[in-house]
Assembly symmetry: C2
């Protein structure tokens, strides 16, 4: 990341550090709840009336989802549910942490499906689900195609995690009215996320997109899903009104776009040990990012020819990846995207005074204020 720091200097602020610390404390808390949830599910499965073989395969999948879910993760989405609830004067800490687990199960579901679509082999430092079950097939000497078995099991595991995520919210300790309102918000939000993912892979297969289309895709795929939906759900569970949700959206959409721009930068320049993603995977996959399209737009003929050769090259080596990164730096695309992420993060923070005007709890407001900053400083 040193290259970036040399281009745009971000002064680490105290509120970003505080938000980071709060997020880390939250991670410890929710991980304990998730651990307990999975252990209870596994125990219930052992006691089901079914053939031994069926129970074994169910437990195998659940154990995998548990292990996948408990790999080091930011837990940003569930923290938004938690802090939005607290900010809107919600008092039941235990109930909201339990409800917040829902989005982490759903996140696992979407990652499992996305990793198949992106043909990634590593997620958070360990095998993706389709690779995991491909190896399982080989280890058991099954007949048929191990890769197709792995892919199929990943589709099922994702479907299971998605339904369990919804169920967690549906069974949480809030009134039926609130839960139903939150669930309806979530159903539409996840459908829109899948539409956004379809838009993303279509742009990727078209191999061309304008800046407007890419930012529009970031809004659909990331800002709504990672920021707006969890904030709305936490607020709804605290009894929020429509105008409260509007203020949260004013923060969420720009905040989510800033987050995604930084995600792209980390995908190209980040340390794989910190990000948990294999080196060069965005480049190899030909991922459609503003970082790349802006570099293509700003490049001279030679740079452009070179970058088009490297972008999407499946067997890209380290030297070639460095060449591509140099073009993104030399054309000014990295600086452009970094500045844009700062601009969107500031725009998100402009919604903070409206929250103070509503006399929402300071703890939550400060968290959102700080996280907007921290998410464009982060290295994982």
């Amino acid at each position: 990341m040193s290259t970036i720091r040399q281009i745009v200097t971000i002064t680490k602020s105290q509120k970003a550090t505080d938000a980071k610390n709060n997020l880390e404390n939250f991670v410890d808390k929710i991980n304990k709840h998730l651990q307990e949830y999975f252990d209870k599910e596994l125990n219930n499965t052992s006691q089901q009336k079914a053939s031994k073989q069926q129970i074994n395969i169910r437990k195998h999948i659940l154990k995998h989802i548990k292990e996948h879910n408990l790999r080091p993760a930011k837990r940003l989405r569930s923290s938004f549910i938690y802090y939005a609830y607290k900010m809107l004067h919600g008092k039941n800490d235990n109930a909201i942490i339990n409800a917040a687990m829902s989005i982490e199960l759903i996140q696992t579901a979407l990652l499992i499906h996305d990793d198949f679509m992106d043909q990634d082999e590593i997620r958070r430092g360990r095998a993706t689900t389709h690779k995991f079950y491909e190896e399982y097939h080989k280890g058991n000497n099954y007949k048929g195609d191990p890769a197709h078995y792995g892919n199929s099991m990943a589709i099922n595991a994702g479907d299971i995690a998605l339904c369990l995520g919804y169920e967690i919210l549906g069974k949480s300790q809030f009134s039926s009215e609130k839960k139903l309102k939150a669930l309806n918000k979530l159903f539409r939000g996840i459908a829109n996320t899948a539409f956004g993912q379809a838009y993303d892979i279509t742009l990727e297969n078209k191999a061309q997109a304008s800046e407007k289309e890419i930012l529009d895709m970031y809004k659909a795929k990331t800002a709504v899903y990672t920021y707006e939906n969890p904030l709305h759900i936490g607020a709804i569970l605290a009894g929020a009104k429509e105008q409260d949700l509007k203020i949260l959206s004013d923060y969420a959409i720009p905040g989510g776009i800033a987050f995604q721009l930084q995600d792209d930068i980390l995908g190209l320049f980040g340390n794989p040990e910190k990000t948990g993603k294999p080196a060069h995977s965005d480049l190899r996959q030909g991922k459609m990012t503003l970082l790349i399209t802006k570099a293509l737009e700003l490049s001279n003929t030679h740079q452009k020819q070179k970058l088009l050769l490297l972008w999407g090259k499946r067997n890209l080596n380290d030297a070639e990846a460095q060449e591509a990164r140099n073009i993104v730096i030399d054309t000014g695309s990295l600086e452009y995207c970094k500045r844009l992420s700062i601009k969107w993060a500031k725009k998100a923070q402009e919604a903070i005074p409206s929250m103070r005007n509503k006399r929402w709890e300071e703890e939550g407001i400060n968290y959102l204020d700080g996280i907007a900053q921290y998410m464009i400083e982060r290295e994982m």
Copy 2:
């Protein structure tokens, strides 16, 4: 189907014919509601604030889901929601038909995902979703692998249809308490269906399973999903109690197993024009059915060697398929499975008197009684 009729004679009963007619009337009604639902969704999508390209891709996927959903279908699951509600004295016809659409969207979702797993190219007489988007990729001269794009779009389209299905139930015109109870039942039911599907493909890749394991898989995958869940949901929306659900389960589990046994028979001996599935696809895929494992169990050495060669042979021709079918007939496996389906259908009907004792509405009771019979007579 003439071969089967010669082996076990089923006298067509009046109540089966009545149930069939009621189901056909229901199909007309729900199809109109589904058509309206999709048209409204498409219209809403046109008015969304997003780039033109994003709206186009959203509409393209929605149109495909609509076309897929409106292909000729039995609508058995939604009819169970409808008739269970009526049977338990539910009065709001329009509300229950709207709510019943949910399971049809979910069914589309699961079919789209299953067809990818089974690598089927035809569903209800037209292209499966992954094949449809593979062709779309080719037609647009996109870069990258058309088949992988098709597969990825199918995963997204399935995820979208699943979330929309849940949303339909969540937004239906019933009380929050009832809807939440129904949704929680459905979340767990669909998770269990995906577990059942994972169990199915694992048995298929192991290429061996006992009769007990197969019937257990039919229970997990079909009986709970196709019979028990929709009946419970309709009953819950009418205000059913736990003991009412128990009676419905006594009908649903055996009824669902009988249904699946007949499905297997149609998969091997049915007319592709009626079933909408390509000829020999169960054989080519190496689908794990009792029909096959029983034939292997009852076969002599020569028959067994032959059947093991043909079962799962990807490029199986018509003559080879006929050979496999002859072995299933000659070993007595077809007769065994047909008799078993009759036995399970009768077992389902044994729950009917308990329904009469509860003074549930006759129309619904007669429907369930007749459908148990009709589902093992059907040719599609």
